[in-house]
Symmetry: C2
Subunit: 349 residues, 2 copies
Amino acid sequence: MATLCKPSVILPDYVVTQDQMIELMERFYADNPNLERVVKMVRNTQIDKRHFVRPLEESIVHQGFEEQNNIYAREAKKLSKQAAQEALENAQLTTDDIDMIIVTSCTGFLMPSLTAYLVNELGLPSTTRQVPIAQLGCAAGSSAINRAHDFCLAYGNVNVLIVSVELCSLCFQPTDGHIGPMLSSALFGDGVSACVMRGLGGTGFKLEANATFGLPNTEHYIAYDVKNTGFHFRLDKEILNSIEPTTPAMKGFVNQQGENISKLDFYIFHTGGRKILNEIVKNLSIDEQLINESRASLAESGNLASVVVFDVLKRTFENNRPKHNDKGFLAAFGPGFIAEMSIGSWSEA
Amino acid sequence: MATLCKPSVILPDYVVTQDQMIELMERFYADNPNLERVVKMVRNTQIDKRHFVRPLEESIVHQGFEEQNNIYAREAKKLSKQAAQEALENAQLTTDDIDMIIVTSCTGFLMPSLTAYLVNELGLPSTTRQVPIAQLGCAAGSSAINRAHDFCLAYGNVNVLIVSVELCSLCFQPTDGHIGPMLSSALFGDGVSACVMRGLGGTGFKLEANATFGLPNTEHYIAYDVKNTGFHFRLDKEILNSIEPTTPAMKGFVNQQGENISKLDFYIFHTGGRKILNEIVKNLSIDEQLINESRASLAESGNLASVVVFDVLKRTFENNRPKHNDKGFLAAFGPGFIAEMSIGSWSEA
């Protein structure tokens, strides 16, 4: 059985509080007719702070797609290597034990991808399968978990290193003055995680089944506009209506495994934002306290895109550790619109 | 056992012959000191023609990353849907039978990716797993085959639709006047393929094992420079030395399956170019005639990046069809530098 061991999560050095962000927005968007409305929305995000790879004043200057991507490459390489080494230690494995590396990242573009860099830099076996995922946005972390699970099911005694790198501050587009982009610039934070899935042994979230659900004809909910200045994040307000129609698929999947989604012992949810979490609690009839770690992740680091599920899992290890054999559900949502989900149990090896 | 059924391959409408290309280069790069040398190299490529999504005169005008990517989106959507429908027919399956869709493409960037578009447009089940691969370049087709194989090994009776979209002409960068980019603009062509891997049944290449080999510290062999004008292809001449050090890994993998790489019945090789194919024949001690279909693919459409292995497989179905139980080897090479390979046998269901 495949077990997700304790993740490592690195939040970069530069802290931006909500107050600092609002002060900056009031200066930066002084003449923008949407300012007042957006500031009100930002106050409601329940995000206390975020972490950026550069100081806030530098982060708001767009240096062109090439230079933004160069900064991405430099920071992504530094932070991902550090995170990966810590994740290997957490899993009590060495580099020689790794059979596959998956890297998820939608906030920069590299070819060769970080998978090749990390194979070389960490000294992973030359036979390591490389799976870079760039286009699944916030769902990519959960998707990586599911593909790693499939790989473990196929081969048994194999181990997968999953590295997620999201430097969202490098996708800030100063010229985007609409409400959506303005708000998202106050929602997303920078973070890097790494996590090992062990095919045999290990302590953590032991996967039993995984599934994908795509909500038909909702490609416009979450999207990038690709421009000469790079990736421009576009969020449709309809996204707030995404959880209700996705609920039957989540319930059905859990039922197929002989469980009731409202009555599990722990939950690892992606934190799309405060309202998305509210929708989850309401539609899945979950005890609010059981999503504390998702709320805390959002408050302390903003939405970290594909990193979130690993941050919530790490917090679950540290603050709210389930008992052996407790049942849990993991899900993230992203562009498509898709939900990537898995069910399993807690395992104290 | 997982079987790759007959692929569909679509080559776009606009044909560019080698003579047309050379005539254009002599005009376009009239003052470039590398011109004479590059023209000589182009004459040696053994590429007779390629296919582009736009007329040649339009293809040499760069309209900015945003507009190039818009053209990519439009053409990719049109051609990939058509290819996918044909591949489903070839595999004698319907959309309801598909459990996973993998899309490989490194010549444009979309989020949501083409996986979401195709799930909606084809009417694939909402539970279809989506795996977009953007960063494995020419190796991505073979990588997709290997990940599809893993998925079939994990679940048995499942089917995977693999769609590969490479519109290389949209990555032409008129300002790149170095030898590498000039040559590559004469090497790569546009093409789209689709192929179904059936977990049970099906006629074609039945996979038995797959593997990856990464040549250490060779990330500079094949790379994109990401600039404000998009992806700039960079090829190091050291790439010509890549096959020899990769040979022990390929031989070893085939040996592990109880076979001799020099004595198999058929081969599906990526066509990096004439010299790479020569290196393969020499290092693996293969009968030159057994790579005829790779040579023909290169001559008739140029290097189609991740599409190539599917084009060679299709040609193998049509022109050089193996006998039931014949043993074969499939491999592609790409940025990393990595080789993605598989071994299997021909199956007439």
